[in-house]
C-alpha cells in the first residue's frame, strides 16, 4: 500500500504543470506577441505624434496665411507695380511694418514669431517660410514676372527641417475701391474712380464715401494756373476761396495743350483765369470755350476778344458800382465800394472795349470799365458773338494780394463765377433752379401737397417740401419703389428677422441675453458691436 501510494504520488509529481519543452516553446511565442504588441503601441504613438505635429503645422500655417490674407493687395504708396518690401520695411526683424501681401515674400522665421516680433514659446524646432508671386490671369499656375492683379501666397511650415504643412491661396485686387463721386447739384454716389469720371462726376479721392463727404453744390471751376503741380501762394488762396463757396475746382496749367483744355472744358462749368499766369502761355485756348470764363489777367483782354485797346493799373482800394441791375452787383448799391483792405493794383480798360460789354463797375479815378460782363451771344471784338458768358474782374496784377480782398469783393468774385457758370440761383428770374423748389414760389410755384405714389416717389425730389424725400415720405408707403423685397439678401426697411428671416438674421430663442432681431431698429447686445445688424442696414 505504501509502495502503491508512493508510486501514485510519484506519477502525480511527474506529470503536474507544464513541461520544460512547453515553456521553451511558449517563451519565444510570448516574446513575439509582446514585441508585436509593443511595436503596435509604438507605431500608434508615433502616428499620434506625427498627427499632432501635422496639425500643429497646419495651425501655424493658417495663422500666418490668415494674417497675410488680411493685408492689402499692394502698398498704397508704391502702387500696384511694386513688389516686395518697401524702403521702411527692408531689414525689419519682424512683420510689424508689413502692410501688403508681397511684403511677406521670402519671410521666414524660426522659431515662429507673432507679427510684433514676439517669439512663440515652445516651438524651437519650427520654421515658417512664405513665398509670394504674381500669377498670370490667363493661367493661374503660371508665375508672372510682371505685375498682375493676382498674387499667389504659399506658407510652408517645417519641423526639424521636414515640411509638415503647406497652405496656398490667391489674393487679388478684389473689388475696385469706391470713392465719393460728386455730380452737379451736389449729388453724391459711391463709385469706382473710372466710372465716376466716365459719367462726368468728380471723384473725391480714395477713402472718401458719400457718408463722410459733402459734394460741392456750386459749379465746377476750371482754375487756370501757372503750373498745376506747384501752386503759388496766391493761387492757393484763390483756390481755397473758390472752394469755400462750395464749388469744386479742377486745375490746369496755362501751358497745357489745346486738346487738354478742350477735355477739361467738357467737364467744367466755368473757367477762372488767375492773374499770375503768362498771357502768351494761355493765348486763345479759352476764347471759343462754350463754358463761362472769368478773367483776372488783363493781358488776355485781346486774346479773349473783350477789348482791342489798352488797360491800365491803379494802386487803390476802392471802386465804384455803376450798374446794380446785374446779378453780380445786385447786392450792392450804386456808388463807392471798398474792394481791398490795403491798396492793391486794380485794372481798367481804357480803349477798344467790345460793344457787347456791360460795364458794372469802374475805378474811382476814372470812368472806364473795370468790372464788365458779356452775356451769351453779346458782341465781342469784331462782332463775334460770345459763345458763353464772360466776366472781367478788376484785380489784375501778379502782385495782387488776395488776402486783402474785402467781403464785398469776394461777393463779386463769387457772383461772377456763379453767373458765368449760369448756375446763379436768382429767385424771380423765371427759372426754377435746383434748390429753389421749396424756397422760390415766384420761379417754381407752390409745392405739391404730397408725394404721389406711383409717380413722384422715385424722382429724388422732396416734392411736397416737408424735408422727406421719396420713400422717406409716408405718402410713398405703397409705392412699388419703396417696397421691401424679401429674399434679396438685404435687410430692407420694413423687414425684420420675423417678417423676413431670409434677409434679416436673428436669434429669437434661448437666453434673453443672447437674443436679437435684425431689422427691429434696436441695437441689441447680442449683435456684438451692432455692425452685422441694425447698426449697418
Amino acid at each position: 500500500m505504501i509502495f502503491s501510494n508512493s508510486s501514485s504520488s510519484h506519477f502525480r509529481t511527474r506529470y503536474r504543470g507544464i513541461s520544460l519543452l512547453d515553456i521553451l516553446v511558449s517563451i519565444p511565442l510570448v516574446g513575439i506577441a509582446i514585441v508585436a504588441a509593443l511595436n503596435t503601441v509604438g507605431a500608434s504613438k508615433a502616428s499620434q505624434y506625427k498627427v499632432n505635429k501635422t496639425r500643429q503645422g497646419h495651425l501655424l500655417a493658417q495663422d500666418l496665411l490668415s494674417e497675410i490674407m488680411q493685408q492689402d493687395f499692394a502698398d498704397s504708396n508704391s502702387g500696384l507695380l511694386s513688389f516686395g518690401q518697401e524702403a521702411m520695411e527692408i531689414g525689419s526683424l519682424n512683420r510689424s511694418q508689413f502692410n501688403d501681401v508681397d511684403d511677406y515674400d521670402g519671410w521666414q522665421a524660426s522659431p515662429p514669431q507673432y507679427k510684433d516680433g514676439t517669439v512663440m514659446s515652445g516651438l524651437p524646432d519650427w520654421q515658417r517660410i512664405v513665398e509670394v508671386s504674381w500669377r498670370s490671369t490667363a493661367d493661374l499656375q503660371q508665375i508672372s514676372a510682371t505685375a498682375t492683379p493676382i498674387k499667389h501666397i504659399r506658407v510652408n511650415v517645417l519641423y526639424k527641417g521636414i515640411a509638415v504643412a503647406d497652405l496656398e491661396a490667391f489674393k487679388t485686387i478684389g473689388l475696385p475701391p469706391l470713392e465719393a463721386c460728386c455730380f452737379s447739384g451736389g449729388l453724391c454716389e459711391n463709385l469706382r474712380n473710372e466710372a465716376c469720371v466716365a459719367q462726368g462726376g468728380t471723384a473725391l479721392g480714395t477713402g472718401t464715401y458719400c457718408a463722410n463727404s459733402a459734394c460741392p453744390t456750386g459749379p465746377k471751376v476750371l482754375l487756370v494756373v501757372v503750373d498745376d503741380t506747384a501752386l503759388t501762394a496766391q493761387e492757393l488762396a484763390q483756390k481755397a476761396l473758390i472752394e469755400s463757396w462750395d464749388n469744386s475746382v479742377m486745375l490746369i496749367s496755362a501751358s497745357a495743350m489745346q486738346f487738354e483744355f478742350d477735355e477739361a472744358i467738357s467737364d467744367a462749368d466755368v473757367a477762372y483765369i488767375t492773374v499770375g499766369i503768362t498771357a502768351n502761355n494761355l493765348g486763345t485756348k479759352l476764347t471759343s470755350a462754350t463754358i463761362g470764363v472769368v478773367n483776372s489777367q488783363p493781358s488776355l483782354l485781346d486774346d479773349l476778344k473783350y477789348s482791342s485797346g489798352t488797360a491800365y493799373y491803379y494802386d487803390l482800394s476802392v471802386g465804384e458800382v455803376t450798374d446794380n441791375t446785374h446779378p453780380i452787383t445786385s447786392t450792392f448799391t450804386n456808388g463807392s465800394l471798398t474792394l481791398s483792405t490795403t491798396n492793391q493794383w486794380f485794372v481798367e480798360n481804357w480803349t477798344g472795349l467790345a460793344s457787347g460789354a456791360q460795364v458794372l463797375a469802374v475805378l474811382t479815378l476814372s470812368s472806364r470799365a473795370s468790372l464788365f460782363v458779356f452775356e451769351r451771344g453779346a458782341s465781342l471784338v469784331g462782332g463775334i458773338p460770345s459763345p458763353a458768358r464772360r466776366v472781367e474782374l478788376p484785380w489784375g496784377h501778379a502782385d495782387f494780394d488776395f488776402s486783402t480782398l474785402t467781403a464785398d469783393a469776394q461777393t463779386i468774385m463769387k457772383n461772377a463765377i456763379e453767373w458765368a457758370a449760369e448756375e446763379m440761383v436768382v429767385c424771380g428770374d423765371g427759372t426754377c433752379a435746383v434748390g429753389e423748389a421749396c424756397s422760390c414760389v415766384a420761379d417754381c410755384g407752390l409745392p405739391a401737397l404730397s408725394e404721389i405714389s406711383g409717380s413722384t416717389c422715385d424722382d429724388g425730389i422732396d416734392n411736397d417740401c416737408n424735408n422727406l424725400t421719396d420713400c422717406q415720405d409716408l405718402s410713398c408707403y405703397l409705392d412699388p419703389a419703396c417696397a421691401a423685397v424679401c429674399g434679396n439678401n438685404i435687410c430692407d426697411n420694413g423687414e425684420d428677422c420675423n417678417s423676413c428671416a431670409a434677409d434679416c438674421s436673428g436669434k429669437t430663442s434661448g437666453p434673453p441675453s443672447g437674443r436679437y432681431c435684425c431689422g427691429n431698429g434696436i441695437a441689441e447686445s447680442a449683435e456684438g458691436d451692432g455692425s452685422i445688424c441694425d447698426g449697418n442696414y
Binding site: S4, A43, H58, L140, F170, L178, A195, N489
Partner: protein
C-alpha cells in the same frame, strides 16, 4: 478483481490524460492572451487610423477654407477687371474646379434681381467652394450696390458661411 499492476496502469493513463488536458488549457490561455493582445493592438491601430483620418480631415477643411476664399478673391477681380461685367457675365458658375495646391476651387454667382428697372443696382451673391480631398468648404458673400450707377461693396450683413 483489479490487480495492483492494473491499477497502476490505469492511474498512469489517467495522469497522462490530465497532463494533456493541462497542456491544452495552457495553450488555450496562451492563445487567448495572444488574441487579446492582437485585439488590443488592432484596436490601437484602428484608433490611430481614425485619429489620423480625423486630423487629416480637419487639416483639409482648413486648407479648403483658403481655397474657397481664393475663389471669392478671383470673382471680385473679374468684376474689377471688367467694368461691363454686368453684361459680360450672368448668374451661374463663373469658374469650376480650378486647381490650387492639393485641391480645387469653384465660384457660383447669383445676380439678385431687386425688381426695379435698373439692373445696375442688383445685389450679387457669391458662393466660393474649396475642395481638398474629402473636405469641402463654402463661403458665401453678398455684394450690395451703394449706387444706382453700380458701385458694389461686400455686405457685412448678408454673408453666411457653411462648412461641410
Amino acid at each position: 478483481m483489479e490487480t495492483t499492476r492494473q491499477r497502476e496502469v490505469r492511474t498512469a493513463t489517467s495522469l497522462k490524460a490530465n497532463k494533456f488536458r493541462r497542456r491544452a488549457v495552457a495553450y488555450i490561455y496562451f492563445l487567448s492572451a495572444t488574441l487579446l493582445v492582437s485585439v488590443i493592438g488592432l484596436s490601437a491601430l484602428m484608433y490611430s487610423r481614425i485619429q489620423r483620418r480625423s486630423a487629416q480631415d480637419g487639416n483639409n477643411a482648413l486648407v479648403a477654407r483658403f481655397y474657397a476664399q481664393s475663389a471669392l478673391e478671383l470673382g471680385l477681380t473679374q468684376i474689377n477687371l471688367d467694368p461691363d461685367w454686368r453684361t459680360t457675365f450672368s448668374s451661374g458658375t463663373w469658374f469650376a474646379d480650378m486647381p490650387l495646391g492639393r485641391g480645387t476651387f469653384s465660384l457660383d454667382v447669383s445676380i439678385l434681381n431687386d425688381g426695379d428697372a435698373n439692373p445696375n443696382n442688383n445685389s450679387v451673391l457669391f458662393v466660393g467652394t474649396g475642395v481638398c480631398d474629402q473636405s469641402t468648404h463654402k463661403i458665401e458673400i453678398t455684394l450690395v450696390s451703394l449706387s444706382d450707377r453700380g458701385g458694389l461693396v461686400i455686405s457685412n450683413g448678408g454673408g453666411k458661411r457653411s462648412t461641410g
